[in-house]
Symmetry: C2
Subunit: 690 residues, 2 copies
């Protein structure tokens, strides 16, 4: 189970992950990489140096994407949809960079993205013993607090007060292993090139998560160093491969898969199926309806809502695939068989039983507890909470003021010394705010608050008592000054006193809501999350004892490597070829969205090689968060950029089926072709060595 909406919800057989992973399955950590197994299967053994290079040339974009250095001077390649927030923030009513694309013909034309951070993994340290020691013998509230404190301390010690370093403790195998991941943090990231939305997302929402596919979903950014110069990445970048990947070729991908739940218990999976996913789906569907109608009201509304609508539609379709995987009765039945087998092992060994008790039952109880409070938690705290940016600012400011007074180890993650630079960047970024859109989103949330909590709930009565949701949302947005970054800076700098003295209505409102939100968050931390962690950790130890640790942990939005081969598949009995071509994109275009090609493509048609491969699929095991991941051949050269999985791969949260699950990527051949013959980006092409 994952709480809320932003964290996601989906896992095959318990055994798939823990027994020796089959075939190309697995999202492997850099420090436990199955190099020997790959040698055995494919005749190529990645050396430690090869892996170090892979790690150092790869990047995490903490909003949920991956990326890679692709030149000696800090050039970064990722997906268009991973740069979409930046493109939208840099747009104006006069110039819509999302739709029109962007190209900095000169280096000085590169524009800073307001709130992009990039992380480069520079080290991993196992801290499991320290964590075990800190929580030994503790239960309930006490366990949760001790765990939080030791994690905060480990992160702080690792970073040593250097804001250019970010350290995250990563909980692997659901608490079986704790590692500290040390990243170099880059916050000066600038926009270099993006194609037009019409080709980056050709086929639109109907084609999302489908294959065959015809998208140039790429963007180039550049990391600058502390002196304002392009970062020197001489030693740590992927060169473009001189030839495109071939059918059957072994390829690797290095990225940050978000979350999987392949190790979840049956109680958690059933909760996902029965509650989390359906409730998320209806929440997202309503939001989609709102945003579609808002966008239909005019071009400017369509422009300002674009990135949000994409995010909602993308999340909706991903969750629908996950839900459909989970209602397939075979899936949960498989987990149940594996779980029963393990439970029987524990039951048969009094010593093991004495040590661990019945962690499955304990987790089921935690799930039941959550079930009773989930609606309130999700609507006031996270998951189905307000989508309004202004409200998010207000809440962050209110919390920062309180949290920053506490000792570091007592704070929520986003306010610790380790987490705060990213929070502050977000708070102070000069990003445009659409008052119209803010009103719609805030109103929708107020309506939902009343719907979920009921008109007689004290918060609803206090907040909405004698006002309509419509009036209240309008008042708040019209009267707050938080759209101004200077005001946010002032409030942040002023700390608790500034917040206390603020008459900003949105600050007052956020304080009101936060009283409830913090109470419910604390309840969930103690009675749900701590219980799940403690007991999932116990299950992991039982599993290690039974089956060894020669397997990969669930995805945790931290760097992982997967391997696979370039390969088609079968769907409804007919073969699906492993690639599509640029010529086919032309053939499929109708001239109307979502099948309209941009003018640049139409103009260049005769210059484009129609047989050039555009998108490819491979058996690499990926999920959301892998967007923008580099695809690498055995020479360590870039052959593609992942931008999607096929619809079959959406069940990947719960397991992996090599027969049909595929990663979908843009082939570097198409990037070369487009840059040279469609966009004429000489400076960029030269830098890429094309």
């Amino acid at each position: 189970m994952r709480l809320g909406l932003l964290a996601t919800a989906l896992g095959g057989g318990l055994f798939m992950a823990f027994a020796a992973a089959r075939a190309d399955e697995g999202m492997w950590t850099f420090n436990h990489f199955p190099a020997a197994k790959i040698q055995e299967t494919y005749g190529f053994e990645p050396s430690p140096q090869w892996l170090d290079h892979l790690r150092m040339a790869s990047l995490r974009l903490p909003r949920g994407c991956s990326a890679a250095f692709v030149s000696p001077t800090g050039l970064v390649q990722t997906n268009h949809h991973c740069a979409r927030d930046c493109l939208q923030q840099l747009s104006s009513p006069a110039r819509d960079l999302v739709q029109e694309g962007f190209y900095a013909a000169r280096q000085e034309d590169e524009v800073k993205c307001p709130d992009v951070e990039a992380n480069q993994l520079v080290g991993i340290t196992d801290v499991t013993p320290q964590v075990r020691e800190a929580v030994a013998g503790r239960e309930g509230t006490d366990y949760g607090r001790a765990l939080r404190e030791v994690l905060a301390k480990l992160q702080r010690d690792c970073a040593g007060g250097d804001e250019a370093i970010r350290c995250d403790v990563v909980e692997l195998y659901r608490g079986g292993v704790y590692d500290v991941y040390k990243y170099r943090r880059y916050q000066d990231v600038r926009l270099v090139f993006a194609p037009e939305e019409d080709i980056a997302f050709f086929g639109g929402d109907p084609d999302n998560f489908e294959f065959p596919r015809y998208d140039l979903d790429i963007a180039f950014l550049r990391v600058y160093d502390g002196t304002g110069a392009p970062l020197n990445t001489q030693a740590t970048y992927f060169a473009y491969a001189p030839r495109e990947a071939r059918e059957g070729e072994l390829v690797f991908t290095s990225g940050n898969p978000g979350t999987t739940e392949r190790l979840d218990t049956v109680a958690e999976l059933e909760y996902d199926r029965d509650v989390v996913l359906p409730e998320s789906l209806v929440y997202l569907a309503e939001l989609r309806g709102l945003l579609l109608q808002f966008s239909a009201e005019g071009a400017e509304h369509a422009r300002v809502a674009f990135a949000k609508l994409f995010a909602v539609e993308n999340a909706y379709k991903a969750r629908l695939g996950q839900f459909r995987a989970l209602v397939n009765p075979g899936l949960i039945d498989g987990h149940r068989r594996a779980e029963n087998e393990l439970r029987a092992k524990v039951a048969a060994d009094p010593q093991v039983q004495q040590r661990f008790g019945d962690p499955w039952a304990a987790i089921a109880q935690a799930v039941a507890h959550y079930r009773a409070v989930a609606d309130r938690m999700e609507v006031v705290e996270e998951g189905r909470g307000p989508q309004s940016d202004l409200f998010a600012y207000a809440r962050l400011l209110v919390r920062a003021a309180e949290q920053r007074q506490l000792p570091d180890i007592k704070r929520f993650q986003e306010f610790t010394e380790a987490g705060f630079p990213f929070t502050r960047q977000r708070l102070l970024a000069n990003t445009p705010i659409s008052a119209d859109l803010e009103k719609v989103l805030l109103r929708a949330w107020l309506v939902q608050l009343r719907r979920v909590l009921g008109p007689d709930d004290p918060l609803v009565r206090d907040v909405l008592g004698a006002q309509t949701a419509d009036r209240m949302a309008s008042d708040l947005v019209d009267r707050t000054r938080l759209a101004d970054p200077a005001e946010r800076k002032r409030l942040l700098a002023g700390g608790i006193e500034a917040i206390k003295n603020s008459h900003d209505p949105l600050i007052r409102f956020a304080q009101e809501v936060d009283k409830q939100a913090l109470a419910i968050r604390r309840d969930v931390e103690v009675n749900v999350e701590a219980v799940e962690r403690r007991n999932a950790g116990a299950i992991a130890q039982v599993l290690f004892a039974a089956k060894g640790t020669d397997a990969y942990p669930d995805a945790t939005f931290s760097p992982r490597v997967s391997y696979g081969i370039v390969k088609g598949y079968e769907e409804n009995g007919r073969p699906v070829r492993y690639y599509t071509t640029m010529g086919e994109a032309y053939g499929r275009a109708t001239g109307a969205k979502p099948l309209a090609l941009p003018p640049s493509w139409l103009r260049a048609r005769s210059a484009v090689d129609p047989l050039r491969k555009l998108n490819m699929v491979s058996t690499n095991d990926i999920v959301r968060g892998n967007s923008g991941s580099p695809v690498i051949n055995t020479d360590g050269q870039l052959v593609g950029i992942i931008f999607d999985g096929n619809s079959q791969s959406l069940g990947g949260d719960f397991g992996f089926d090599e027969a049909t699950n595929r990663a979908v990527w843009v082939s570097v051949g198409a990037v070369k072709e487009a840059l040279a013959n469609i966009y004429g980006t000489t400076r960029l092409s030269r830098e890429l060595g094309l």
Copy 2:
């Protein structure tokens, strides 16, 4: 399983329905009423005359509601929400009858509702032997055709060509019994009185399906006879009871519960849980988002979308309750145990097995077949189809032209001699059309069509190829002439030739869509519906053999009687009183929707008895379709009008739990009080004998 969205989807234990129903459970037919059991439990035995009076004073409103005669001169009482379509159709930008209410101070002020029909059940005939004979030995297509033909013939024979008579064959026990229900049909129904929306639906969507509740959800209509005079109902009406109902009092309700699935197989219930309900919920949620935003665009948009938004929110909340009931693992497990027991009985008896085979497996196969085609069926034919009124007209006209050429017994139900008068009334009614709203609904459907079928589907390519959904919807709505009832009348009268020669773009478009729609509908009729019917009928016969017929059938939107007592219940450990008062409504009002009382109520506050009971609950077993049902005491007098069930009752599609399931109704005492002291409706109060 029910197909699509409009038909609903929810059932407790198989045994609950078939074993002697427990306690007050049951939606009983008039011809198999458990009078002796009631005598035994409550000491009152409804006589045949008492039941005849109940039947003749009750009405069905075929759009999904119930009603009753309440005066000797054709006065009808139902819910405000059952008259909402009429109120909206009679409104204009200048005068919003939904919000403002309506009162005809003189008889000549009563206004005809454009498309309301009322049905009065005058006779029931068992035709099971004729049906069995007609389908004996048939399978597949052949079975489906034979069944349709014999049903059409029986209906036609019953009505004898008299349009004032409507005959429906009602399939009871899922095909165990076939009865012909003969109704008197009234199509001249006029509006007499409705209160304001703010009190009819006080608490709005958040309070819908909740109790305690504070709604005056009533409306008065009047049936006129063929001569244009009020219908003489001297012998067939319910007098208002002189005193309100008391706690513990035995009460009856006579109405038309829509659908229940208490006899469905496990395969069907799982399909509902995994597919039908979640897919309906997300469809409705998106529609809600669209309509909420459309309504926020201005007062006139809010007005024209009001009835549709209510319908969508109401359906959404009902389905959410059904879904939550179904994911409760106990529910389906209970059905499974009962089903396994019955299957074991069949397996143990070679003769029975020889006769029936394995009907459960056959139904599971039909469900699997439907699963594969459901998306297409529902998006092009029904369920998640277009919500546009103009498109509905176009499709009805196209189909009517083709179908009316066929022999009566070959037509779809809505085009048979028996069904057509209602269809025609709907087609020709002079109801206002909002072009803005039509465009939104049509666009949403086109977007969904592409999303579900994919951009490469031939229909999508033909229909949407080089246009955006937005442009296409606008063009169709701007260019069609079907908003004009005279044009619809002309096309209907002109038959197949008029349709062939029509250049109306919406007619052309409907023809295009209908090619696919009819093909898929035929496939589903043959491979799903016919299989389910045949095998559900077989299961019913097994059940009759095992347990007798002393039980009620699933609801089929035909007249039923349920009995129960006025009684509170417990919720989360605290008692819920059986009534609310008018004074409490005043106390709860905040002045802002959805807790705003209308000006009439605010003005009259000092004149209103605060202790007057407003809403009451009783243990009567009801579901959707029972809205507007009269609640009757043992003297046959009216004590209330049902308008809702509590949230616990939403699982009623699958079973009945007397501990918490409650019917919610307006007490007649509150109606008297409001008419006398708030609305001053002297003429109406006098007619009611108050």
